[in-house]
């Protein structure tokens, strides 16, 4: 929409009005292109997966499968596939990782957002570092340490190792949030008789809620999509959805891979749609869906 503000004031009123209409048309066109690109890029790749998941036989050069079947979905829903238990475990790990990330990230983000101190840039860089360094390189070193402390092949170990990629996102989103936050609101609440806990509940939390939701969403989705760290630290004992998905993708059964992919992607999309409305506060890091 940036183009709209870029209106040159032309001397004649009618000319400028015409120019404005032209500009707006151009802006609408750009918006349409962007929307189309998002749909093509995000939604279209899911369509072949969906078709695959219901296919029985599908040979070149036909556009659609010759025969259809719900075999893949029946298998995915059965206990033998391990998908239902992996789904539960992935949700559990994601929720725990999200809660812990927010509990650690909230004070860290607040400190970084509100205060200036010596070495702040270094601290910010160190927090960002896990998102820059390749996960595989780090994970090898961590695995050695985790084996030493008996954390390898355990659920606790997987949860801990997921915090490495989630914390940078949470801390940085919250630091950005607190950079625009006025802590005097809390002082105001204190002088009106609210203790520290009630001040947080009635004043701080409502003010940061949209940003906090965005940060939590990041944390959940980063944990949800973690493969390398889960495989290395979980060592086959902790089987989450992405671990299962990779093994099926390697197995060559396209129907099951397709069905599993849908199971894997659907919750992420669902969460995004459900939470998008509460993300559109003034400090929201994301735009909402279906809300202008």
């Amino acid at each position: 929409m940036a183009q709209v503000t870029n209106i040159r004031t032309v001397s004649g009123g009618r000319e400028s009005a015409a120019a404005e209409v032209m500009e707006r048309k151009r802006a609408n066109f750009v918006l349409w292109i962007v929307n189309a690109a998002i749909i093509v890029g995000l939604v279209l790749p899911l369509v072949p997966l969906l078709i695959w998941s219901f296919s029985k036989t599908w040979f070149w050069p036909s556009l659609l499968p010759q025969t259809w079947s719900t075999r893949a979905w029946q298998y995915v829903a059965s206990d033998t596939s391990q998908v239902p238990s992996a789904l539960g475990l992935t949700v559990f790990v994601g929720v725990v990782v999200t809660v812990v990330s927010v509990i650690i990230g909230l004070p860290a983000g607040r400190a970084l957002g509100l205060n200036k101190f010596r070495g702040k840039i270094l601290v910010e860089f160190l927090i960002l570092a896990p998102t820059i360094v390749p996960g595989l390189a780090v994970a090898m070193g961590i695995q050695v340490a985790f084996i030493k402390y008996g954390l390898a092949d355990t659920l606790l170990g997987v949860i801990l190792v997921h915090l490495i990629p989630t914390l940078p996102y949470v801390v940085l989103v919250l630091a950005g949030l607190f950079a625009n936050y006025n802590p005097e609101y809390e002082q105001q609440a204190r002088t009106l008789g609210a203790g520290p806990v009630r001040t947080f509940w009635h004043v701080t939390l409502p003010a940061i809620f949209p940003g906090l939701m965005a940060a939590a969403l990041f944390a959940f989705l980063v944990s949800w999509s973690q493969y390398v760290l889960t495989v290395l630290i979980g060592g086959g004992a902790v089987i989450t959805l992405p671990v299962l998905l990779f093994s099926f993708a390697g197995g060559g059964d396209n129907a099951i891979t397709g069905a599993l992919s849908i199971v894997y992607i659907a919750p992420a999309i669902l969460i995004l749609i459900l939470t998008s409305r509460s993300l559109t506060g003034e400090n929201a890091a994301l735009g909402g869906i279906g809300k202008k």
């Binding site: 002082q187 002088t191 009106l192 008789g193 004043v203 003010a207």
Partner: protein, 386 residues
């Protein structure tokens, strides 16, 4: 109705060497309005936050009715602060904002509703309960902030620059409202301002602060009639300063010898700076007591008065005369100028002021009791005279 007493209050922020507030002694009388006045970064807001309990003092004591409150948390202290930018909670309705303090005290819903509508009536915002802060003008927001503070019957009402965010006509309205409410509720009120006019209009008592130090404390008139230093006088719009030597009940200057009357007589003899307010100089007086000839350099017609810049000898002076005198005098005239003897005042001469950076009342050790009261400076351990 709480007497607030501050003794030797000192604040040094962590990582700083400077004392933001330096052993401040201040009494805020019960049921009165006290102004802490000073330029920005003079420690006045820091002091206010320490009284509120939002900052811990580095040293010193704060007492409410002779009980120390330094160890009492802000939420239990009962001193409510109203911030300069109102800080209404944006996601709450006006009723929820105003009722916040009562909710925190666990009052029941019925009582809160009743009290909220009462207090909104007091600040002339009846029926605004369901509005949102964003829907209100700046002046209305300030009144909501005031109502939110008053609803808890605070022991102290602490206002941070209460009028400075408002336009001229709203300021008058707000000032009237604060004065009316204060008279009605008798709440001990302390406010902070950088604007001497605001302090004079609102306060019963003014504490002038420079660089974390109390400079002068007294009623509004004291700062106009008996400032303790040239700096204090200048802060209150004083512009006429003449190097002088005080001898007995008169004062010798380069532009003549003038008779003194009133409190200035009690100032010890010796070098001093003579000061007189522009409105206390009389053009073309009836008698010639303390009169000097002066050359009119410029005349500025302000409407309600006329401002002259005149030259007496080599001494430039500013004079405020009645507005109609613009028709009588013109630039280049020579006029007779009277320095009313009871309006003359002496402040320490610049070199003496430098050797004694704290212009406390010991500068005039021989001054009689009533003159001492005028420069009632109680500051610093060694220099305390009261």
């Amino acid at each position: 109705m709480t007497h607030v007493s501050i003794t030797k209050l000192t604040k040094v922020y962590p990582g700083s060497q400077a004392r933001s507030v330096d052993s401040l002694d201040l009494e805020m009388e019960s049921g009165k309005i006290t102004a802490m006045l000073g330029p920005s970064v003079c420690g006045k807001t820091t002091t206010l936050k320490m009284v509120a309990g939002l900052l811990n003092p580095s040293a010193g004591d704060i007492r409410f009715d002779s009980t120390s409150v330094v160890k009492v948390a802000a939420e239990k202290r009962g001193a409510v602060m109203v911030f300069q930018n109102y800080l209404l909670f944006p996601y709450m309705s006006i009723a929820d904002n105003v009722g916040f303090g009562l909710r925190m005290r666990g009052e029941n819903q019925g009582t809160i509703k009743k009290r909220v509508s009462e207090i909104l009536g007091l600040v002339q915002l009846e029926g605004m309960e369901n509005r949102r802060p964003k829907q209100l003008s700046g002046g209305q927001q300030q009144r909501v902030a005031l109502a939110r503070a008053l609803i808890v019957n605070p022991r102290g009402l602490l206002l941070d620059e209460p009028l400075s965010n408002l336009d001229a006509h709203l300021r008058d309205e707000m000032r009237e409202l604060i004065l009316t409410i204060q008279k009605e509720t008798k709440v001990t009120t302390i406010f902070v301002t950088h604007d001497q006019e605001e302090a004079v209009l609102l306060a019963d008592n003014i504490a002038l602060m420079f660089d974390g130090l109390l400079h002068q404390q007294g009623g509004p008139a004291d700062f106009y009639e008996r400032p303790v230093s040239e700096r204090a006088a200048r802060f209150f719009g004083g512009v006429n300063f003449v190097p002088a030597t005080k001898i007995g009940n008169s004062v010798q200057t380069a532009i003549g010898r003038f008779a003194l009357q009133g409190a200035a007589v009690a100032v010890p003899d010796g070098p001093a700076t003579l000061t007189i307010r522009p409105e206390s100089l009389k053009i073309e007086p009836a008698d010639t007591l303390n009169a000097v000839k002066a050359y009119v350099r410029s005349i500025i017609y302000v409407g309600t008065y006329t401002r002259y810049k005149v030259l007496a000898g080599s001494q430039e002076l500013e004079v405020i005369g009645p507005s109609e005198s613009v028709h009588v005098h013109k630039e280049g005239d020579t006029v007779l100028l009277q320095l009313l003897p009871d309006r003359l005042w002496l402040v320490p001469a610049p070199d003496r002021a430098n050797s004694e950076p704290r212009p406390v009342s010991q500068t005039f050790p021989d001054a009689p009791a009533e003159a001492l009261e005028a420069v009632d400076m109680t500051q610093g351990a060694a220099t305390n005279v009261s």
